[in-house]
Structures are given as C-alpha cells and as structure tokens.
C-alpha cells in the first residue's frame, strides 16, 4: 500500500513499448517499467556527471593544503 505512492504512470508510444518488450526477453529485466527506470536513471546520472564540479573557497582550500603539507601528503 505504501508502494502505491511510490510509482506513477508515464506514457510511451506503443511500438516503442513492444520493441523494449522484445529487447528484454531473456535478460534480468522482468518488466518494461524496470528497464525504462534503469535507462532513465543511467541517462540522468550521466547528464549530472557533466555538470560543474564543486568548488571550495580559496581560503578554505589554502587551509586544507596547509594541513596536507604538515601531514606529509603534499610537498
């Protein structure tokens, strides 16, 4: 019952659905929904991967570098 809230329905073209259904035969995927979820997660993750990396303030970075030098991690 809690699961009801966890899923929603999206529409995809029927021919695409049939194509996926055929494609997942004999794989570990038990349903088209599982496969579509898998693909979407993968695509979203790879898009996020390209976004800018986190930056530290210069001051903070300098403090960290000092500690790393003191500990012998950096020359």
């Amino acid at each position: 019952m809690a699961d009801e809230k966890k899923y929603t329905t999206v529409s995809i073209p029927k021919p695409l659905y049939d194509k996926i259904k055929k494609r997942i035969e004999g794989t570990g995927f038990t349903s088209v929904s599982d496969y579509v979820t898998y693909v979407l997660r993968e695509v979203l993750a790879s898009l996020e991967e390209e976004e800018k990396e986190e930056v530290f303030t210069e001051e903070e970075e300098e403090k960290v570098k000092e500690r790393l030098r003191a500990l012998g991690y950096l020359d």
């Binding site: 809690a2 996020e48 991967e49 976004e51 986190e54 790393l68």
Partner: protein, 379 residues
Amino acid sequence: MVSKPHGGKLVRRLVAERTRERILSEQKEYPSVKIDHGRAIDLENIAHGVYSPLKGFLTSDDFQSVLDHMRLSDDTPWTIPIVLDVMEKTFDEGDAVLLYYEDIPIARMHVEEIYTYDKREFAQKVFKTTDPNHPGVAKVYSMGEYLVGGEIELLNEVPNPFAKYTLRPVETRILFKERGWKTIVAFQTRNVPHLGHEYVQKAALTFVDGLFINPVLGKKKKGDYRDEVIIKAYEVLFEHYYPKNAATLATVRYEMRYAGPREAIHHAIMRKNFGATHFIVGRDHAGVGDYYGPYEAWDMFDNFPDLGITPMFIREAFYCRKCGGMVNAKICPHPEEFHVRISGTKLRKMIMAGEQPPEYMMRPEVYEVIRSFEKPFVE
C-alpha cells in the same frame, strides 16, 4: 575530474565556533542521549560528508525505502540504513537533543521523528538472513526499540588516536586535485597487505591516475590486526614498492556491518564522496561466514546504473608456480595443483607461529613491521 559527491553536494554539518560555544554553555538545557562508538563515528561521517547526502539519521520514510528499494525516498542509491536507536522515549519529536559519547557531547540533533521498526525485517532485507550468529544481525537484535530520525550538527570530534591519517572528503578532494589525478581508484581494507592485495591494487592502478588505499579503522574482532599495524605495514609497502606520485594512504573510521553485497555499494558510495572515480570490489566483499556468494557483490552493481562511481571487478589473485608470478583465474591456464592461494588466515597463523611467509605471499618488509610489534593482534 574527481567524482561529484553522492547526491550532488558534499554535506558539511559543522557549526560555527561561536554557535558551538553557545550550545556547549547551554548543554544542561538539552535532553541528553548516550550513544555507542559506532553511532559516534557515524555522526562524524555524516558531518564530514562521508555519508553525503545524509544530513542526519534516517527518518521512517527513508528507512523503509532503503530496506525495500535500496534507495532513499528521493531515489538516490543508498543500501545501508544509518539509524540511531534508543531504548526508551526520553524526549519528543521537535526537540533538540545532545548526543554524548563517553561524556563528550558529540552532536546536537533535531529530532524530526521517533518511530518503531521490525528487527527481523531489518535483518532479512539488509543481511539476507535472520540468523543471530551473523554479527550484523546480532547487532540489530541488540538495538533499542525506537529509531530517531533527524538532522545533526557536529560539536566535537570523537577521540581518534590516528587523527593524522584520517582525512575528510574535503581534504582528499583537494589532495587529488593538487596531485593532478583525474581518475582515482579506491581500495577498501581491514587487513595488512599481502601480495594478493598488491596485485589487485596495481592491476587497477594500471588504468587510472591514482590509487587511494583507504583502510577502515573501527571495532575489531579478536585476532584482527591492530590498526597501527595495518597503517605501518602500508607505509613500508608504499616506501619500497609503490610509485610515489600515484598512490596515497588515508584512513576512515567506520563500523563494519558485514552486509556483503549491500555493504559493497555503501563502501563505494563512501569512496565516491572522498572523490574516487573507481572502486575495487573484492571477492566476498564485506561478507562474513558463508552468507553471501563469493561474487554476489559484483552482481549488485547492476542495480545501480546511476551510482556515479565505476566498480572494478578484479578477480582474486594467487601465485602460480607454472606462470612464475601472481595471476588470477582469468589469465592463468594451469591446473589447480600449480596454484598457491594466499589467504589472510593462513598468513596470520604463520606469523603467530613466528614463521616468515615466502616472499611471493608477503613482502619481507611488511613481515618485519608486523614482527616489530609486541602484540600485532587484537586480544
């Protein structure tokens, strides 16, 4: 470029110095809760972003979602419930409480929710067994009746005899950047290195810029190597056998759950937060006894196309007398009779008997380090 933190942003739950002083001066006004060492280091890991995106202990929604789907309720991969248990309700939802480890106030917690849970369900879903002989299951069965969810702020570090080796994600990220490493493979360990480990690490390092050896320090079982022995053994190995600019060593404190496949994902997530782009998944990773298949953890990674760190599956290494070196089952064509398996248990027995292992099992320098300790093992 190093990995993005899990969930997108590195969590830091430290309070400004003035706020900290104020909280500590008012500590008598807060309800106090005693926590054990494992929970205290969980707090530290939350506060320093090792567990990003967690900002505190799980609330019931996230807890149930982790049990059922191996994901937080917002769909972020998360396999191990990070929870705080209490025996009785001595405070209410909405309260701010102080969490104490051995009389040190470690953190302030904003109690969002207090809830009950089913220990057998917890055990079955996370450990795939309800057998109380499993150390992780035994731990769950010994937990309090309620779980407390809510965000935390760190007030004090948990005493740490190895503070100088314990780097935080913000530090490793800057370290990797300074070294010019764009791809980094992390290795999880709780042991002194033997040639099998060295082979696996160097095989992985062949494909990336840097190797990040990240021993887990924490609760030990009788017969385990002491933390300082593991550190010293790696130091001497680095000195003699590892390229200076391609490998580094730093420790993390963490209490093993022995949840096998699920914990392998958790270990990968922690290393992603440290900035690693790749993670070595071993044979029977984070397993105990024979609750999990030797390569079951490898399959688990199929469920997480969005994990954001690449697992490296490198088969267990052994010495082949015919090949004349360290190999693995995939690359050696010779029958079993030529193979010498390097087991940690076998090495430990030899060392305890005062017998030096052959050089193809353990570097002599490493053996010397172990021998230099009067008591290298936990008693």
